[in-house]
Amino acid sequence: MDTKVQHDSAAPMIELRGISKSFGPVQANKNINLKVSKGSIHGIVGENGAGKSTLMSILYGFYKSDSGEIYINGKQINITDSHVAIEAGIGMVHQHFKLVENFTVLENVILGMENSFLINTALNNARVLLSELASTYSLEVDPDALIEDLSVGHQQRVEILKALYRQADILILDEPTGVLTPAEADHLFNILRNLSKEGKTIILITHKLKEIMSVTDTVSVMRRGEMTATLETSKTTPQELAELMVGRSVLLRIEKDATEVGGKSLEVHNLSVMDKRGVTALKNVSFHVRKGEILGIAGVAGNGQTELLEALGGISPATGTMKIDGEEIPLHDKGSDARSRREYGVSHVPEDRQKLGLILDFFAWENIAFGYHHNDEFNKNWLLMDNRKTREIARQEMAKFDIRPPTPNNLVKNFSGGNQQKIVLARELEQNPKVLIVGQPTRGVDIGAIEFIHQKIIELRNKGVAILLVSVELDEIFSLSDRVAVLFDGKIIGERITEETNESELGLLMAGIEDGPEEQPAMESVA
């Protein structure tokens, strides 16, 4: 590990000059200049599709820039591929992890850096190094675990370990906290601070301005492929950054008026679910959501949120009872699939838009009917679907949800993540559901879009829909939900009225520290 004197500010550690890159007709980066000094933490913010990931991938040699120069430590380097970047001491933690899922942690760490023909030595060396790093930076992770068995937080640690194993002096992190819980994120930032103290230069891409403010030294803003500003973090504010990004002022926290809550719309009793490995992932969970109410489900990822959503959405079998407006709906028999759930008026915005919510290779208009393709509005007659009408509906909904570009005849995979999320929301919210279940609605989405999505969810609540919101973002839970329940180890460990609780209390619950039994009646009293 190299521990040079920090802030040796003669030449910037990283300098980009006039970087441009286009993908076919899309110009992702336009003439970008950037300097980052050694040992600093530099933040980059920008809307979805602004070109942040592209720029970093160019720095890392994953993409080749069309023009421009890169200087590392004052020396111009022609980064033709990632190999050159690694040699130059650059490490990158990608937005979408580049890990081999059925490999162990060790195998992933040494991949590409095995040093000899047989991998045994490398595995042993890596094992030693990993335990050293674990103690130096508290980056613990089981070296023999398979990636697919690790939580995303741990997977991310593996990515960081990979970079450190390669002795990176420069560490690029692309939206590292998008999938982390607040505690995990804090942990990560501590690690980053330690690394920067040791002289490592860090570039951090994030949508969360709070993180920028708390951890970075300097920050750049990207907009539509251009670098619009580079500022010292201490001399700017979240508001200013948000405006620079979006080009208008943004509400960082949604206004929400109290609404009249109605009767119980969604009731769940003793819901239990086995996960794919046959482990009980949800144990006798009971709760209800009233009309015009948002119940937030908080918790550290992996405590049963996914199973809860999939059970309610009719994707996976479950036991227990589920009632909509007092009518019991079947949970387990064959008819109780996702299709019948929709027919009962349950709309479901899934956690993972790419794996569940969308067919990436379908056009936007086809996705607008997805799951509702049996509905009359999308069909001409008993046999044929009505594509023209579906396209028209899609056009309207896309306009209403400000989806860019607003063209239904566009493959969904060509939309940015934020806009993909809006397509899912447009589809599910426009079905006039009785009950809406939402998982991580703003994961990886820029602040402009977050504002919009939050507004839409509140609007639906105000219309009297019962909403179940699952999110690992406490901010989101606090700004949207009326009540919040915390899932821990497959059980609801406590419920609070949002206005009567705070982050630290929820934080304790999320860590599994249970509250006294007297809380339960307090909740009933809201009714």
Binding site: G313, G314, A369
Partner: protein
């Protein structure tokens, strides 16, 4: 690269690829000591230049359309049905049973029943692989390969021991009843007072094949089931999220696929041979794979690819006839090169063409 105008994508690039394939084939022709240009001319003229040649070309194409559609439909649900060969063979059995034992008064009555029977038998032959895939996750590629071999054995048994008239030498069924004989192109043109040569086996099934192309297009792109099949093909997890049952999709898709393959026998068994032969499919199931892949699983593409293969079959036969040095293996080589260049190596042409086009575009702007 993806924003090339349609005509470049659909016409120019395939044309150049085809040209390249023929160029290389030409070298092989030169290798065996013949004139490649004359060979080319014989292939084109022999297959498309006369009603006679066209009659054969389209007859072969009809076979490949059915087997190609069969593979294509399965592809949409991301399943690779290698079993077209066996399904078509068993479909032939279905056709034969209908045409052997019922004294049909007229082909118009026999045909619908034969179609149903052929499709039913073909579908039945794909049902077990489909079920095993849907319920047990047994890989459809293995099971359909195995079912091809089982079909061969079953056909030999049935023809030799059951369907063959006693004392007959050839392991084939008796001739079908006269009432089941389908009108050939010669007959059909005759009804309208037009002339068409008598020998080409092209028959009314070709119209059926075109209809099948249209119906499959409608099925895949216009019905809910087709929508569900495509969704499932792109992403099984998303399909489940949307309430689409994988079991239902796998079963329906494979039954349709097997049914289509089975219907090939309407053309070859009922339309041409008018009896069940021991190998009535003759590799059409495998050519169907190539046709589906080259046609990008789109019925129109499958149709065009099937006609292309028809051209190669018929043109190849003419070539063999006109050029004694050319053997039938030569035709197989040409087919291989056509598949390679138009199917697998298309980027060889697409990338440079795309670049040229982009440059031209940039200049214009």
């Amino acid at each position: 690269m993806k924003n090339l105008p349609k005509w470049i994508d659909l016409v120019l690039i395939p044309a150049i690829n085809l040209f390249l394939a023929f160029m290389i084939s030409g070298l092989v022709v030169v290798y065996i000591g013949e004139n490649p240009f004359r060979a080319m001319q014989i292939i084109i003229n022999g297959s498309l230049g006369s009603a006679y040649g066209l009659g054969y070309t389209l007859y072969y194409a009809t076979n490949f359309i059915f087997t190609g559609l069969a593979v294509a439909v399965a592809f949409h649900a991301r399943m690779f049905n290698i079993g077209g060969e066996g399904q078509a063979m068993i479909g032939g059995l279905g056709t034969a049973l209908v045409c052997l034992f019922i004294d049909w008064p007229h082909w118009t009555i026999a045909l619908p029943f034969a179609i149903m029977s052929a499709a039913l038998f073909g579908a039945a032959w794909s049902a077990i692989p489909a079920y095993l895939q849907a319920r047990r996750g047994s890989h459809i590629v293995i099971t359909t390969i195995m079912f091809n071999f089982i079909a061969y054995s079953m056909m030999v048994y049935l023809l030799v021991h059951v369907l063959k008239p006693k004392g007959q030498m050839a392991p084939e069924s008796a001739k079908f009843v006269a009432g089941s004989n389908l009108p050939s192109a010669h007959d059909i043109f005759g009804w309208f007072g037009m002339a068409f040569p008598k020998s080409p086996p092209l028959n009314v099934t070709f119209l059926l094949a075109m209809l099948a192309c249209f119906l499959i297009w409608l099925f895949i792109w216009r019905t809910r089931m087709g929508y569900a099949i495509r969704a499932f093909g792109w992403s099984e997890t998303a399909a489940v999220y949307a309430g689409i049952s994988p079991f239902k999709i796998i079963m329906v898709t494979m039954l349709v696929s097997g049914g289509l393959a089975g219907m090939m026998s309407i053309n070859s068994v009922m339309g041409e041979a008018e009896r069940l032969l021991i190998d009535s499919v003759q590799g059409a199931g495998f050519v169907g794979i190539a046709a589906a892949l080259m046609g990008r699983s789109h019925p129109l593409g499958v149709f065009l690819a099937a006609v292309l293969f028809g051209v190669l079959y018929q043109g190849g036969a003419e070539l063999e006839f006109e050029m004694p040095a050319v053997s039938r293996e030569m035709i197989v080589v040409i087919q291989a090169l056509v598949i390679l260049f138009t199917g697998a190596l298309e980027n060889l042409v697409r990338v440079p063409i795309g670049r040229i086009f982009m440059k031209l575009n940039a200049k214009q702007n």
